[in-house]
Symmetry: C3
Subunit: 307 residues, 3 copies
């Protein structure tokens, strides 16, 4: 039995197979409409995350399975002092696979150690969010036709954004990747990401301050939200949050196939005017994210052989 805690739990080959499978699920939904008949997904969400939860649930429903679970810590047994380890053992009596979201880093790992069913980390604090990365990769591969030889700009809060660190870790495994890291000095990628991920892989990167300077060179622009809750004080937040807003003007500097991604939810870091631009790909990410979660659950449930 296998759990997914980090995007790196999957090899490049496994990721490729997942993307192939997800593409087949998108193209032939009826083929998979009953592969999970009688199976159950437990969505154990210790903090709310509507989009991620609905994505997992939709993916399981697409395969004919059912859903049990909870949406927030207040409706979980955690309020009665139950440990994550006990909760997953209980859920394992009911369900066949689990997606766990938790505000504390490492909680899904604790669950995986004792779980009788496969556990997928659906986000643990500032740590990992592997299925977001799967959605990102699938979107890039579908729109650009490849995952190698790309110049990828990542913009916004690069210090605290877990999706950023996961994406960098996943992309350095492909050849010809080059990053332009766009952020205020205070929110730069942490040094451990440089020392443990970028440098060992030999992936070139540059750090820039202004989004305008980077845009013309990019194949992909990955925007992130400046999360208010990550800031130490209100002043810093107010000062920095509007630095990196993508609007129609900035989009004019970009090439005709520079796709814009964003893990969502966005607040105001991408102007709604950009939504109509054919290069805006952030809702496509949601679409592909569902199919990647479907492919991942299908694989972890070892349903391939039954087909």
């Amino acid at each position: 039995m296998r759990h997914i805690m980090s995007p790196l739990d999957l090899t490049v080959e496994e990721m490729d197979r997942l993307m192939d499978l997800a593409a087949d699920m998108e193209a032939n939904p009826k083929k998979y409409a009953h592969v999970c008949d009688g199976l159950k997904l437990a969505t154990l969400f210790y903090e709310p995350s509507t989009r991620t939860r609905m994505s997992f649930e939709s993916a399981m429903l697409n395969m004919g399975g059912s859903i049990i679970g909870f949406h927030s810590a207040s409706s979980s047994s955690a309020t009665k002092g139950e440990s994550v380890a006990d909760t997953i053992r209980v859920a394992g009596c009911f369900a066949d696979i689990c997606a766990m979201r938790h505000p504390k880093e490492g909680a899904p790992m604790v669950a995986a150690e004792v779980s009788p069913i496969p556990v997928i980390n659906a986000g643990d604090g500032g740590h990992q969010h592997p299925t977001q990365t799967l959605a990102d990769l699938m979107t890039i591969r579908t729109l650009k036709g490849r995952l190698d030889h790309l110049t990828v700009g990542i913009c916004g809060d690069l210090k605290f954004g877990r999706t950023v660190h996961s994406l960098i870790s996943a992309l350095v495994r492909y050849t010809g990747i080059r990053f332009i890291l766009i952020s205020p000095e205070e929110l730069r990628v942490p040094s451990y990401v440089k020392e443990e991920v970028l440098n060992p892989a030999g992936t070139p990167y540059e750090e820039v301050i202004r989004l305008e300077d980077a845009i013309p060179k990019l194949d992909i622009l990955y925007m992130t939200r400046v999360q208010k809750e990550r800031f130490f004080n209100e002043d810093d937040y107010v000062r920095m949050k509007d630095f990196y807003i993508l609007d129609e003007e900035k989009m004019k500097l970009a090439g005709p196939e520079m796709y814009v991604l964003h893990p969502l939810p966005r607040v105001n870091e991408i102007s709604v005017q950009v939504d109509k631009d054919p290069r805006a790909a952030y809702f496509k990410q949601v679409h592909y994210g569902m199919y990647m979660r479907e492919a991942l659950m299908y694989t972890l449930l070892e349903l391939g052989e039954d087909q």
Copy 2:
């Protein structure tokens, strides 16, 4: 693609067809048990409304479909600053149709403007609640055999009650309707309802203070809750809330076929002793409401041709 924001989005003929369809669904549930196989309803409830939500969900389940969504703003992405427009675009990646409840007037309309899937307004603040009106009409038509030539009493909070305004708007389109509006002076129907709805339609109405004076003349008595949260101060609430309580004594003044409706939940405006009276129709409304929502979703999903 079509959205339903107000009961008036449907013509009288469309309403009639919906009621015919709902009656067929009630009579022949098996015929519709799989028409939504593989389809999903998103219940996006930014404020709790158990009855309305369960009604939509049951209606979709009756047709073989599935449910995703959230039950309150605290478990939605709204807490992270996501707009209603973005949330519906995300939900549209997962689901095939959406029922949206929101405390702010007009929010479902904002959603409908960008939504890739049909949106049904499941109540927006004090504004509209079209599926409640569909439930009301279906109940009246089933019990009285017609929607024209009726004297309809509406009692309680006529100022703030959105179900009241929606019902009046829908009924003035039928011939021979006459209203008796029963309320304290402070909670009378707003003047715009008179000037924009009742007078243009030429529908006669009278305003009375005492429920006892109206009851003997009525074919239908529509009771409403005096919602505490609508009052400016506690004193006003305490003074007025018990003015308009329907009990066994008052029911003795009514004709043998004067049915009592109420949008629920009730607090104490209808005595529980009235529940046993065969003229009490408020739980029948819940029953018919489910079938009207089922008929509405079936129609908006354009499933008719597949049959």
Copy 3:
């Protein structure tokens, strides 16, 4: 139509039949995979109880049915002043059977009196929790092969624990049962349990203070949580909570077939080291609880004749 409010609503013969049915459901899941197609369970949970709710929901999903409902009072119509009686009448328009959890003793009984569908008490305050007792009995019968001629130790908070009182009431109906009641003096079984349950049945029992003294004599050890919220003050809680912790050392005093049960959630009253002991049966209880709920709903829905 029948409701289940207390474990004693079922005769010993009915309990035996339920356990036989549950065992068949566990052994032959496919036989029951569609017996509830088109049916709905309403889980009306006025206070959160993830484990019990997920157990009921899984049981209904195992039979092909669907779920509607709410997870806490804040997302119910109770916040708008709706009575339990009205809520069950509304739910009865949508669903075919109901599991109700409520913080107030007797609330499910109030619901049952007016309900158009079978109501199962899923826990009402400190009062009853019949499906927990069904899970307990099924676990004991499966592991020990019998429900008679057993020495049963019950340890922890015997004063406030509703599962303890329910279990005692159920077990005194079998022959050859003997209890050892292990608790601090302050948390002993209430006198009404002795006078109304144990003594009339002629069931022998002794009360002891130290878990070590009891363990060697036991066939079953039923551990319970010392619920912080039941204590009058923090000092009492702190002083007593660690008195009755089961660990590897104490397990060495027990016989090779002394199974340990616990209604869960546990906090620290059973050391996690005991989890690996083959005599630890508390997660098996969760497993059997699901099948007992499945058997109970199947029976209350009178599906037996359709087979």
